[in-house]
Symmetry: C3
Subunit: 389 residues, 3 copies
Amino acid sequence: MATTTTGKRPLLSAGNLMNALLVFVPVAMLMEWVFHSPPMWIFVISCLGVIPLAGMMGHATEEIAERVGEGVGGLLNATFGNAAELIIAIVALRAGLFDLVKASITGSIIGNVLLVFGLSAMVGGFKFETQRFNRTAAGVGTTLLVLSAVGLVVPAVFHSIVGNSAPGAERNLSLEIAVVLMATYIASLFFTLRTHKHLYMGDAGAEEPEGAYVDHAPLGRSIGMLVLATIGVAVMAEFLVGAAEATAEMLGWSEIFVGVIVVAIIGNAAEHSTAIIMAAKNKMDAAINIAVGSSIQVALFVAPLLLFLSYFIAPRPMDLIFTPFEVLAVGVCVGIMALVASDGETNWMEGLQLLAVYIILGIAFYFLPHGGPEAAEAATAVGAAAGGH
Amino acid sequence: MATTTTGKRPLLSAGNLMNALLVFVPVAMLMEWVFHSPPMWIFVISCLGVIPLAGMMGHATEEIAERVGEGVGGLLNATFGNAAELIIAIVALRAGLFDLVKASITGSIIGNVLLVFGLSAMVGGFKFETQRFNRTAAGVGTTLLVLSAVGLVVPAVFHSIVGNSAPGAERNLSLEIAVVLMATYIASLFFTLRTHKHLYMGDAGAEEPEGAYVDHAPLGRSIGMLVLATIGVAVMAEFLVGAAEATAEMLGWSEIFVGVIVVAIIGNAAEHSTAIIMAAKNKMDAAINIAVGSSIQVALFVAPLLLFLSYFIAPRPMDLIFTPFEVLAVGVCVGIMALVASDGETNWMEGLQLLAVYIILGIAFYFLPHGGPEAAEAATAVGAAAGGH
Amino acid sequence: MATTTTGKRPLLSAGNLMNALLVFVPVAMLMEWVFHSPPMWIFVISCLGVIPLAGMMGHATEEIAERVGEGVGGLLNATFGNAAELIIAIVALRAGLFDLVKASITGSIIGNVLLVFGLSAMVGGFKFETQRFNRTAAGVGTTLLVLSAVGLVVPAVFHSIVGNSAPGAERNLSLEIAVVLMATYIASLFFTLRTHKHLYMGDAGAEEPEGAYVDHAPLGRSIGMLVLATIGVAVMAEFLVGAAEATAEMLGWSEIFVGVIVVAIIGNAAEHSTAIIMAAKNKMDAAINIAVGSSIQVALFVAPLLLFLSYFIAPRPMDLIFTPFEVLAVGVCVGIMALVASDGETNWMEGLQLLAVYIILGIAFYFLPHGGPEAAEAATAVGAAAGGH
């Protein structure tokens, strides 16, 4: 479901670039704590700082996963695969920025599928006329994506029907749907790691020769790296979330645009590079697993987990009511991915089409009026009232 | 399209359980006519009484169908396959309970696909890693499902556009769409029973040895059983519909929840058990034909027929305007079924996903405010008015 | 993407019929310029006059395309394939009839897929039990259709969210989406004419023997025919658009119904006959390329081009905000086509189902209240206001 392939060598060279980005981590700390720089600069620099740290977390998780054996390792990857996004979301959750949290969930789902897999299929398609992958595994993935979309659409439609007349019912509905989503996620781990794991080995398992195992990093170092990177991401997330609102205002961007596009791209930068590298090596099974798997993990694991956490750490419980446009974006993304994946092959044109859909959605999120769904609703109500006279 | 396989031996054992449920038929009669019991108990007992009678009707229909030859027999199965649901709906129609009628149509469509086929694929998937079925036959079925969804979505969207300003146009629209749906259903019978019938033989025809034909019940007994069971269902339906409103009120359930979830499960209990038994024997063609075929029959035959009948037996003509949430449920159900069926194979995870979607929709129907769409509309309008100030 | 196969002989006989229709061209001129006949008659006669002229344009374009070589020829076909529709739309654009322009775009998209391909699959299916086509080419086509649908859905949903509060943002959104759609179209030409052109040769290239090339018309004659036919279409379009409003009023039809159903059928009559002839000869690749290709061309090339042109020749810039029902129609059409195309084969029942969907949508467009979306919105607002008290 998550990045089960490490692809050692290419990651090292990409890793060098990643390591260079680490310089932004201390810079961000200086700007926040010492110089009290303008929020926009803190936002940009801490965004750049998150990228290498998220990569380090992913890398360390995979190294630990390889050492502790297949079953637990798969579980680790499945649970910590999107840890960077989770941390950013938790910080935003504590600050009560629910619109930002939900927007980053939406952005992660559509970003992984449309941007990451779209770029992968396009880059891979420039080198190979047609790229093939296991249709059964991809089919289970896209069905889970549809389930994710249902989980997000149902509360939103419910909200559009009942209006603001039943907040209690809406909270219960969100909570129970989150339980169903989480339970399905756990069942899907059982599917991918136990009953049907051969579907997910693909070309990845065969590649690595036995000898390659000797140059594994020591377990202690990996754990240390994971702890350090996690702390680093948490600090950067505090800066980033703290500066997000002021930055959005300064640039004339809505909170939703920041969450859907900016935060989502930052949090998934590591997956982006890995998936594209895999596609360029014609390992489309790995590329699709990373992209679709990451979307599924966010929708079925991160989103319900955040909802559960909101009962303990947020100012008030969060619900799963996404804005109509987020629902549309997820629905469109799931529909087109199901279509692209259904024949078990991709070409550059299909990749480009996914990207085109991402761009169209991005443009629309950019132009959406500021101030979240409440403002939009008010605007509609005013329009309706004006039209009624 | 409907249950063309009898699967003698397993049905006998399931039949024993079914026969035991027959005891609830006289109990319900006593409670209604002699003891005037509280509505909730009458509702529960007559629901339980419907299950074996519906099974008997299906069984008798199949036995008659086998005797009268393939063509007429197929037609019989296709017409009387959902007779129990039809009878319940007719009783509700005469009482003018249009919300309940439409909700039972919705519930039958989503119940057969998500619950029946979901359970079938899951139970079958626990025994067999991958189960295969004929993609062409399944493809025609899912396309008919999409057509069904279009037939239900179009009047609802029309209604949401024109509001209450054009009741006459809406009635005509519903009537003409019903004609198109019914005509398509008749054409589909021609397809399944005549031009492409080999697609639907599957593993079913091959199974039964010639010698098995000797133990058929006499035709007279089958017809007698069909008549008796039909009368029984009609009586139980009267009790059930009469007690539905009071029961829903007592339990705090909406009429729509009762129709979508409770009545639909009762009416399809026989199909449920047959489809699951077929899947457990790895006869996925039969399982998918029962589940999808039953949904199609309800959408393209039962729904238009009820609309036509409403002009003669209901207080006023019924329309095909389903509530937004029913439309969403049917749309979601059709979309995920198309995806699951498209690759011609299932596994337990896909079955579980269908069930998860059913549970999510069921939760939402449970929480929907009582009193049908009108109440919801009023609530929205109030909300909008409050927001406009 | 467009009609790359001429299918000489059958077109000649169909051509004779076409040539007979040419008589309506001078008749329309007489009625408009000399007799000042009632608008309804001018509308009908100029509609009939457009059909053979559009056929001539298509024919001449193909002949020129064959002479100038594959690359430029493919480009010509791709650009002028829907020239007749483009000319009608430009005339309506200059007159500021944006509802009619958008309705003819919608009608062209759904008409080519549901009516043209539906009829093709049904007629072909009566002769051949199962007809097969290249799934990869059809898959790219349906994905482009989904992209088209996204391009039309996003502005409409945006509009439904922001109401009339942000006309500037809506215009910019439409313009930028149009740029993305047009860029994708250009990329798709690169795909079909350059990197993956072998997918689109199909059975068409193989059919024509080398000797057939000798009876090509001289290039000069083809160009002359193209110029003449274009002028003819432009004149007929002026008559047709000028008389459309009065005709619609007289018949009690809405402007949208005229655009979606009438104008779209007229403009695509030539494609209709060619696609059906191809299907009857079991050349489903050609039939699907004509139908889906024409829809894509309208959505990704004609629609953006009209939007760009509106900045120069229309009373005010056009946007891409389609009415909710047009969005539903395009969405439904794309969804069912994706399903039908996904297995790479069709039968008469699938064709009939596409037709049934077309008929249902047509009925709904017929019953929609007159006066475009504004009137409908007003009606809804009134309804909501009434419900609120």
